[in-house]
């Protein structure tokens, strides 16, 4: 096959059958569950401490929000071609006919909500545009660090012909998740000053709203590359790169709103700092 033929080779993009026979090695299943879940569980005592001792309820609402947000995992797994072997500890719940292991809800608490919360604290301290891109880069890296050990050891798999895999991990998920975590921080930064009294409970919806919105804006080319039947190979790669471009545009939009030198003034943000 010539190079040109390779570039234009049609790629099967229909909903693929999941690798249902895949089993994670027993020890790997246990170790990866610890790796992905322990951070999220460790956060709760701190969040309760912040609430009771410092009268700061944001971390606790974000923890609850992380648990809620994990409900969208089966949808992402379905269109993003991710399969958790059924012998991983769990399931925590089932959706889209997929078993979601126990590790996922606490994983969302730390890696979506609390990473978003960290981005929020950076924004409150005052970030310039460059600083915001640096925060985005850092939190995108955390996703790679979280997921790559799992895919490399066979705890779970991204099946099908996903673009740009390293140790079985399609790095597109790094920038997609990184952008969604930043969006969580930005939405928290925008709405938190407006929510008082019972309305504080709406903070629990920040993670799922921002993550869903971010994926809607940025992930569709990547999901198209996975699910559109018969696209030339090169198109699948270009679509994946397009999702990166959309992520960078969204990060720049966020920077315009939250960065010190951004050009959009959020006048209604109470106590913007």
């Amino acid at each position: 096959m010539s190079f040109l033929e390779k570039l234009l080779e049609p790629v099967q993009g229909v909903m693929l059958p999941v690798p249902a026979d895949l089993a994670a090695p027993e020890l790997v299943a246990l170790l990866f569950t610890v790796w992905a879940a322990a951070f999220g569980i460790a956060v709760f005592p701190w969040a309760i401490y912040r609430w009771l001792k410092k009268k700061d309820d944001i971390p606790l609402w974000m923890c609850v929000g992380g648990l809620l947000c994990s409900i969208i995992e089966p949808m992402l797994d379905h269109i993003g071609h991710l399969w958790y072997p059924t012998n991983l500890p769990g399931p925590a719940f089932t959706g889209f006919e997929l078993n979601i292991p126990w590790l996922i809800p606490p994983c969302y608490v730390f890696f979506i909500s609390m990473t978003g919360y960290w981005a929020y604290t950076r924004m409150k301290d005052g970030l310039d545009i460059k600083g915001l891109f640096l925060v985005w880069l850092l939190i995108s890296m955390t996703d790679l660090i979280l997921e790559m050990p799992g895919t490399a050891m066979g705890a779970y798999t991204y099946y099908g012909d996903a673009s740009f895999k390293i140790f079985g991990f399609p790095i597109a998920w790094g920038w997609l998740n990184g952008t969604s975590m930043l969006a969580v921080g930005a939405l928290l930064w925008l709405v938190e000053p407006h929510l008082r009294g019972k309305k504080r409970a709406y903070l629990a919806l920040v993670s799922v709203s921002a993550m869903g919105a971010s994926y809607g804006v940025t992930a569709w080319p990547y999901f198209m590359s996975l699910n559109w039947d018969g696209l030339p190979w090169i198109s699948t790669r270009l679509l994946t790169v397009a999702s990166l471009v959309l992520c960078l545009i969204l990060v720049r939009f966020i920077a315009a709103a939250v960065a010190k030198n951004g050009n959009v003034s959020i006048k209604n943000r109470v106590g913007a700092g």
Partner: protein
Amino acid sequence: MLANSSIDNAASQAKTMFGEELIWLFIFGDLCTFTLFFFIFGHARTNNSVLYHASQAKLNVHFGSINTLLLLSSSWFVVRAASAARKGLIQKCTRALAGAFILGAGFAVFKIIEYIDKANAGISFSTNDFFLFYYLLTGLHFIHLLTGLSLIAYFIYNFRANGITRQNHATFESGAIFWHMVDLLWIVIFPLLYLLP
């Protein structure tokens, strides 16, 4: 130079907490995770001590020892850098950070040589449970190390470009704490994998 008011602010912050609160939360989570790994390793080792001893014998203790010295020395440089940063001595701080970076990079080089050595011997994480732990623990530690090196490089650049301000000083202290955690993890991983009789 750090402005006087910034020194006061940094000093008063240091009285209550070194670094930022969230870095301590991250370290707590990280240490909980690794502690569980260590317990699982201990349990697995007890149940299959023959395999673990035989596999441990294939590790190069000299590499591990040199890396321990490199990382401990690197942490000492970070302490020197933190001390200089508090006094607003940019040059002394960035020089110490450069020293920490070089020693940390040395650790990375030895670790890569060790990984190549293992790959050439046909050893991977799927060889047996001991090497699964070996690659998991040293691999995750290696990722921490690379993150720490990136942070050190960033602090050198940032201090040189912007001087030492209250904000970047607080972030630097968090980075320094992270580097010490990388050190601490290795101090447990090294005897656990390389030395345990």
